[in-house]
């Protein structure tokens, strides 16, 4: 058995967390950077404390966004031609308030999205998510595609390494000038793709034998249940989002 995810957030029903994820993204799109940076990000970081792996989460969070955030601020500061207050000036570099606010506005949606998505998968097994979606009448084909892809990727990465080594042994250069390396690309990728496609029919037959296309109720090895707290939390998230959205629309109109 795989190692289980720990922490109280992992015990919630996956769809409860999915509702939270979608609500947070929608809200951070309609509100400006203050909501994203002062409400959502602190809230998600606080929740991440209960994910059981705060340091791992922070590493992924910073790793995913650092380059992006730095570049956005560089772009916004360079493109800023307003005459707002100068924050910092050194030779030709001039940083104004407007440039910083533009940078915050541009990044807030993506920072919230990245944080909430990472937290979601930090506390949810993809398998559990798929089971809970299937319980809500999403087709088992979707589950199959997602779960078998997750198995397939490391498998194909390993196979591509084997193929590259085999081709090297046959004398194909994988290092050297750009033309040599371009020439090595096709013999590395081609056999991988063609062999995977040739295996397809056997896999299709195996799957059919196990009743993949049979139109009957599918059963699950794992039992995942929605508890009372999940229903309460889901309804609370949705109601809160509707109230906030209404408030936002009210502010736009009047």
């Amino acid at each position: 058995m795989l190692e289980r995810k720990k922490g109280p957030l992992s015990k919630l029903y996956p769809l409860t967390k999915l509702v939270f994820l979608l609500c947070s993204i929608v809200l951070s799109i309609v509100f400006d950077w203050k909501f994203g940076y002062l409400v959502m990000v602190p809230l998600i970081l606080f929740l991440a404390l209960f994910s059981g792996n705060f340091i791992g989460f922070m590493k992924k969070f910073i790793g995913a966004l650092l380059l992006f955030v730095i570049f956005v601020f560089i772009f916004k500061i360079m493109l800023d031609n307003s005459d707002s207050q100068i924050v910092f000036q050194w030779q030709f570099i001039v940083i104004r308030v407007q440039g910083l606010i533009d940078g915050l506005n541009q990044t807030s949606v993506l920072v919230v999205m990245a944080a909430v998505v990472l937290l979601f998968f930090e506390t949810t097994e993809v398998e559990d998510l798929m089971i809970s979606l299937q319980q809500r009448k999403v087709s088992h084909v979707v589950s199959y595609i997602v779960l078998s892809t997750l198995q397939m990727i490391p498998d194909m990465v390993n196979r591509s390494k084997v193929i590259m080594q085999a081709q090297q042994a046959r004398g194909i250069e994988t290092e050297g000038n750009i033309f040599l390396r371009v020439r090595a690309f096709f013999p590395s990728l081609g056999p991988l793709i063609i062999s995977s496609i040739s295996e397809l029919e056997e896999r299709a037959i195996t799957l059919e034998v196990r009743g993949f296309s049979a139109s009957v109720q599918k059963t699950f090895l794992k039992d995942i249940r929605s508890r009372k707290i999940d229903t309460i939390l889901s309804i609370a998230f949705i109601l809160l989002s509707i109230v906030l959205l209404g408030w936002r629309i009210y502010l736009w109109l009047f």
Binding site: L67, T107, M152, A184, G190, I193
Partner: protein
């Protein structure tokens, strides 16, 4: 088992392979230190063998799954979906069978990439592409060009060769697939006489 059920099982099974090819293709390009991404070969291949719908699904799920560890991929799902649809439509017209058709397909796929990727980059990412190409964009902005000009120029530099190579790799791979395997995919008629 009816014939259609078998077709669709083969097409469904093709999707995870397409997604993995998207990922592995990008990885091999990285290992070989090639200056291109080559991360949509799988989407184009599935589109070409199984049609626009399956191509689009491959594109969508590729970006969602890569988004589990790198959430900035998720908004670009629209680009990958569009590529899958265009590849599927081109294949339906039999364009992946001939060199000339593949050339037309690569122009269309290149065009739809430019049309979908640049708005995402500008509006959502403020011009940042997240890869090393952001250095080109920031250089162009520093020379006084607007954000749109800089993003489009960067995309023209980095994407053009990439999409042409990807389409032609798929074109040659389909040529290398034996007819008895090809026959089992929904668009087999586009390739076999």
């Amino acid at each position: 088992m009816s014939k259609t059920a078998k077709y669709s099982t083969m097409a469904i099974l093709l999707i995870p392979i397409g997604i993995a090819i998207n990922y592995v293709g990008g990885q091999i390009a990285l290992i070989l230190k090639l200056p291109v991404f080559i991360d949509v070969i799988g989407t184009i291949l599935v589109g070409a063998l199984a049609g626009p719908l399956f191509g689009a699904i491959t594109g969508l799920i590729t970006n969602l799954i890569l988004g589990i560890t790198a959430p900035t991929w998720i908004p670009y799902a629209i680009v990958n979906v569009a590529i899958g649809i265009v590849a599927g439509l081109c294949a339906k017209r039999g364009w992946f069978k001939t060199f000339k058709g593949a050339l037309i397909s690569s122009v269309l796929i290149w065009l739809v990439t430019q049309l979908t990727a640049n708005p995402v980059t500008v509006y959502l990412f403020g011009g940042v592409t997240g890869s090393g190409s952001s250095f080109i964009t920031s250089f162009l902005i520093a020379t006084g060009q607007s954000l749109w000009q800089s993003v489009i120029t960067t995309a023209l530099i980095t994407e053009t060769v990439d999409k042409f190579i990807s389409v032609f790799i798929v074109f040659f791979i389909i040529k290398a697939i034996p007819a008895r395997t090809l026959l089992k995919f929904p668009l087999a008629r586009s390739y076999l006489d």
